[in-house]
């Protein structure tokens, strides 16, 4: 059983939490005129990597707050816990974020606010 450090309550047993699956899936709107196939990347396709996985957790039997966890699926080691809306800061977490196929998916590009779209391509290359 994992021990998860809730950013609001402190370390608690896994049984107090529920896992919300893959993190950092940007949500496109219907106005974004994606094809069904491109939209399916957002709606259906989820990663199940061997190694570092960025996922969402909720302290269901505690403060009910959501947060992000960078967890190694092979070792179950938790590398980093960071707030919703933030990006990972650990080296391995950042690498997992940048290497994710989603960064280049049409669904994610479409979901970016217009102001960030120009920066998007350059940051992906960085």
């Amino acid at each position: 059983m994992l021990e998860i450090k809730c950013p609001y309550c402190g370390p608690r047993d896994e049984e107090e939490f529920s896992c919300g699956g893959e993190a950092h899936i940007a949500r496109p709107l219907s106005e974004n005129s994606l094809s069904d196939k491109e939209f399916a990347d957002y709606l259906f396709y989820r990663d199940n990597p061997r190694g570092v996985f960025l996922e969402r957790w909720r302290h269901a039997a505690g403060c009910r707050r959501w947060f992000n966890v960078a967890r190694d699926t092979l070792t179950h080691h938790i590398l980093e816990i960071y707030p919703m809306g933030a990006k990972p800061v650990s080296k391995a977490g950042r690498a997992a974020y940048n290497a994710n196929w989603r960064r280049d998916s049409q669904a994610e590009i479409a979901a970016q606010p217009a102001s960030q779209k120009t920066n998007k391509t350059s940051s992906a290359k960085r």
Binding site: M1, L2, E3, D13, G20, R27, P28, L29, S30, E31, L34, D36, F39, L43, R56, R58, A60, R64, R65, W66, T75, H76, M84, G85
Partner: protein, 1014 residues
């Protein structure tokens, strides 16, 4: 049986520091009465009574005796207890004796000494490895018959007949800085270091007493004391310290992620009188910052023909019985060993009066000092030799000893025969690496000690002493202190100075000879059986056979032969099995690898894992504020999630149909009253509350007026309906949402998720108020008159209080919010009062409605009433694959708004396909016939299989108001099929039910009754 052992040891003759020979204890084994001493295990007491034969083996029903002295025991499995408290498959070596203990042997019929299953042993040629897989594969239809016979013949002991466990179990969570598993020399040493340094320490010991091997070892001197005296002193020092928790009789059986350990504490199993305040066992769920494993080692048996006979025992076990329990397990002994250590076990027994006739060492060059010592004691030695067979019927009586080649794989001379009543065997030591491996630590093969030792760790844990392959006491103690200091440092603590005690013990070279099977001089498959796994009756031949048949992976061989799969999980057998496998594959042991070590380390009672979470405490039961009234009225209840809801209120011996018909008719003709308190209710506030609802629901919410109600459907992001309910605007920035009873918690989580993860910019606050409001729904033509009679300050006129609006005021003097909404199609008011007034409201309405024919109705009548109107129930008409369009509710999807959850998904191409299952009504040709819910629809009842199926019935009732049955169904392309005839084939051989596809709104399609005007 052991007639050759005439010297029946008397209680008075026994002496050892661990038992109290002044306190005799009576017990029975297979109905016969025996005496043991306080401090005995069942095994030591049986041996003291010269009882060696304790069971029959699993497959061949061979006579078996006690082989070990602890958790490793494969043979001596017994059932303990009487009546409902019989616990099967306990190891006699781990059962503490108490007065009046009743034990029975297992796996024998009719008795231990005469067992008809022994025929399996004669027929063993026909029971090879994989026997069941090979034999019962075909014909497949015979499996049912085979299974019955196999299940009867196989298996180990039987549980008590009464399926109720009369005992109580507890659970406890705990956190420690350092957890030490094992209370022998290394564990206690690590414990002293950690405890003196101020760490919060738990030390757990599997046995009732502390000290581990120190208690069985006669030659160890620590700081001038015997090992046992030192252990007692160490424990008493630890007991005085507040930061130390000592648990004996406690087995750590699981080691999971993030240093999570599960321990089983046997609190009162060993007591003759079990005090009422104590649980039987306690489950400890422990989180440790650092773990130190000091779990010791288990001796390996040697694999030779007849090695399973009673009287053949591990050398260390023979010494344990002597030194710890004062029991001499034989009178004429023979030792076979591949290492130095066991020589000392034999010397100890010899000095105590068991004449060791021969020491057989498989090595060509054991230490000359040992040989001299043996010769001085008058013990014969046979060097470079092995026991090639042991003989005897119910007890070992004779062995054959023959010289071996240097590699130990062939005989080099003729066998000699020796009489005996005890064979001690020692094949080297296996460190107990189970917990280390459960914690995903890696193992390495030690080429010197020929055993697996821990290498790298995965969790914050260290192994010390014998379980780390450090069998020397002084080295183990040093290792323990170093490990404790490392753990203290990792915890940012400061290690106190403690002095390493002075330890003197016989110097032993821990370098056994790698010999995994003693040759028999006969071709494989012939000669006596040489057992590898005693508990599952797996022989060396079985493993050879498995390899010949193509099973090479250790995991495959394990499952094919079942080696290592019994309740002892191969504690004595695994290494021998994989060494033989390696030999047969012409490979080496490290390349073969081990099977996965899994929890539990030893069998663990399910009762303890369940703890108190059984019966009424298994899951909470939620009741409404009006629950007592329903009970007093004789209502029948149904479970809806955790809620208990009144199902129907039978009167004067009515059955459910009669009661529901009466309730449904009353609600349409006069007035019905429903307890709707269980509806999910969520209070939604904040600047952006309306915008939030606009995104959550499929319809439009921005322009809903204050005090107005609106029905909404919410979809998942894939466009499938997930919940529905009526939400009311209480103020510009304040809404009251209702959800389905079962969906309440899920909807709250869903809303929170979107607010926190996708729209954190929205200012919205959610509070569950399900239990804060009691709700009585008053429905029917007389509803308005009853409210008036109950007394209200609200103007109930249509002009002031129209359909789909809310008014706040008082009913019978109780503060109330009344929602004029309808789930029945009648004039209907949902009256909400603070929960504490729920009962007052209910009784007051019942009183006020008495002259108007008010009738309480339950959930069953509610279902019929809503079905008459074609109202859906989420979860009944929907199953997660149904869109609003499929339900014929396209009118509630406002796709002109920029966004709502599911909007883009509903625009997918696949959503527009005409063959989606769509909700329709059904009318049976015979108006009295009710189609069973779940029945499948077909167009042609005579089509030969496979039959094309259109869909299934979701709701089906008899409608007394309409005088015919009604049903709803999800049918492929159903909306375009109205008027068509479909058939519902029946399972019971009756003719198919014929029905016509209709609209779903069966009753009052124009909705005139909503205003009470008709």
């Amino acid at each position: 049986m052991a007639k050759n052992n005439q010297k029946n040891m008397t209680i008075a003759a026994r002496s050892s520091a661990s038992i109290d020979s002044q306190t005799p204890i009576s017990f029975t084994f297979d109905g016969r009465k025996y005496q043991g001493c306080k401090g005995d295990t069942l095994a030591s007491a049986l041996l003291a009574n010269n009882v060696h034969l304790t069971g029959r083996s699993f497959k061949y029903h061979r006579p078996r005796g006690i082989m070990g002295a602890g958790a490793e025991e494969p043979n001596a499995l017994v059932g303990v207890g009487t009546d409902g408290r019989i616990e099967p498959n306990l190891k006699a070596t781990q059962v503490e004796l108490y007065d009046g203990l009743v034990a029975i042997s297992q796996n024998r019929f009719p008795s231990l000494k005469l067992d008809v299953g022994e025929i399996n042993s004669v027929l063993s040629r026909f029971f090879p490895a994989g026997f069941y897989y090979k034999t019962f594969m075909w014909p497949a239809s015979f499996w049912m018959m085979y299974e019955h016979i196999i299940r009867h013949a196989a298996g180990l002991g039987k549980a008590g007949d009464d399926h109720k466990d009369p005992d109580r179990y507890e659970k406890r969570h705990a956190h420690f800085d350092i957890v030490i598993i094992g209370g022998g020399l290394s564990g206690l040493m690590a414990g002293l270091q950690a405890a003196k340094s101020g760490q919060r320490v738990l030390i757990a010991e599997d046995q009732p007493q502390w000290g581990g091997w120190l208690r069985a070892c006669e030659d160890i001197i620590i700081d001038g004391m015997s090992g046992q005296a030192w252990a007692e002193q160490a424990v008493s020092r630890l007991q005085e310290m507040e930061n130390v928790t000592l648990l004996s009789r406690t087995t750590c059986f699981g080691y999971g992620d993030h240093n999570f350990l599960t321990l089983a504490e046997r609190v009162s199993d060993h007591l003759a009188e079990k005090p009422a305040h104590l649980p039987r066992q306690r489950l400890w769920k422990v989180r440790a910052r650092q773990v130190i494993l000091a779990t010791g080692a288990i001796e390996r048996p040697l694999v030779f023909a007849g090695n399973d006979l009673p009287g053949v025992m591990l050398a260390s076990a023979a010494q344990t019985y002597l030194c710890q329990y004062g029991v001499l397990v034989g009178t004429r002994g023979i030792l076979m060993t591949n290492n130095d250590a066991a020589w000392h076990n034999a010397f100890a027994l010899h000095r105590a009066g068991c004449r060791i006739k021969v020491i057989v060492d498989t090595r060509q060059n054991p230490s000359p000092a040992l040989i001299k010592q043996a010769t001085d004691l008058g013990i014969l030695t046979r060097i470079g030799s092995g026991i090639i067979a042991a003989h005897g019927r119910l007890h070992v009586a004779r062995v054959e000893i023959a010289p071996l080649s240097e590699a130990g794989d062939a005989l080099t001379g003729e066998p000699e025969h020796f009489d005996c009543d005890l064979v001690m065997m020692s094949g080297g030591m296996n460190p107990v690496v189970h917990l280390h491996s459960q914690a995903r630590g890696k193992l390495k093969w030690d080429e010197r000690s020929h055993c697996f030792r821990p290498s790298t760790t995965h969790e914050a844990e260290q192994s010390v002493g014998s379980c780390n392959g450090s069998f020397d006491a002084a080295i183990g103690a040093k290792e323990a202190i170093a490990a404790a200091r490392k753990a203290i440092k990792a915890n940012s603590g400061e290690a106190a100075e403690i002095t390493l005690p002075e330890i003197t013990a016989t110097k032993i070279k821990w370098t056994p000879m790698p010999i995994w099977q003693i040759p028999t001089g006969q071709p494989a498959g012939q000669g006596g059986k040489a057992f590898v796994d005693f508990q599952n009756d797996v022989t060396a031949n079985d493993i050879q056979l498995a390899v010949r048949e193509g099973y090479h992976s250790v995991e495959h061989v394990k499952r094919y032969t079942t080696t290592g799969m019994a309740t002892d999980q191969g504690k004595t057998s695994n290494i021998n099995a994989l060494a033989i496998l390696a030999r047969e594959r012409a490979s080496d042991i490290p390349s073969v690898g081990t099977t996965t070590f899994r929890m539990p380390y030893t069998p663990t009672s399910i009762g303890m894992i369940a703890g108190r979470d059984i019966g009424g405490l298994f899951d909470p039961v939620r009741t409404t504020p009006m629950d007592k009234w329903h009970r007093a009225a004789g209502a029948k209840f149904e479970h809806v999630g955790q809620w208990m809801r009144a199902w129907y209120y039978p009167k004067d011996g009515e059955n459910i149909q009669e009661a529901v018909i009466r309730e449904v008719e009353a609600a349409r003709q006069y007035a019905g009253l429903l307890d709707a308190s269980t509806l999910g209710k969520i209070d939604i506030r904040g600047r952006d509350a309306a915008e939030f609802l606009n995104r959550i629901y499929t319809n439009s919410w921005l322009k809903l007026g204050v005090s107005k109600c609106r029905y909404g459907l919410m979809c998942k992001e894939d466009g499938m309906v997930m919940d529905d309910g009526v939400t009311t605007r209480l103020a510009e920035d304040h809404f009251h949402m209702t959800t389905t009873t079962g969906g309440a918690a899920g909807v709250l989580d869903w809303l929170e998720e979107w607010l926190q993860t996708e729209w954190p910019d929205l200012q919205v606050y959610l509070t569950s108020v399900t239990e804060q409001w009691a709700v009585a729904t008053l429905s029917g033509p007389a509803a308005r008159e009853i409210l008036k009679a109950a007394g209200t300050d609200i103007d109930l006129g249509d002009d002031n209080f129209s359909f789909m609006s809310m008014r706040e005021g008082h009913i019978s003097g109780l503060p109330a919010r009344i929602y004029r909404i309808s789930f029945t199609g009648e004039l209907s008011y949902e009256i909400n009062v603070p929960a504490r007034y729920g009962m007052a409201l209910w009784t007051s309405l019942m009183r006020a409605g008495k002259n108007f024919g008010i009738t309480p109705y339950g959930t069953e009548a509610m279902h019929v009433l809503r079905a008459e109107k074609g109202f859906i129930i989420v979860g009944q008409e929907t199953d997660g694959t149904v869109t609003p369009y499929d339900l014929g509710m396209g009118w509630i999807v406002y796709d002109k708004k920029p966004d709502f959850i599911g909007k883009r998904a509903l625009a997918r191409q696949s959503m527009g396909l005409g063959d989606r299952k769509q909700l329709v009504g059904l009318r049976t040709k015979d108006p009295k016939q009710i189609i069973p819910e779940g029945a499948h629809a077909v167009l042609d009842p005579n089509q030969p299989p496979p039959v094309d199926m259109l869909g299934h019935v979701t709701s089906s009732y008899f409608s007394p108001n309409l005088g015919h049955s009604i049903a709803m169904a999800l049918l492929r392309g159903g909306h375009a099929r109205k008027g068509e005839t479909v058939y519902f084939p029946m399972l019971d051989g009756k003719p198919p039910i014929e029905a016509t596809i209709t609209d779903t709104n069966f009753y009052d399609p124009k909705g005139e009754r909503l205003n009470g005007q008709h």
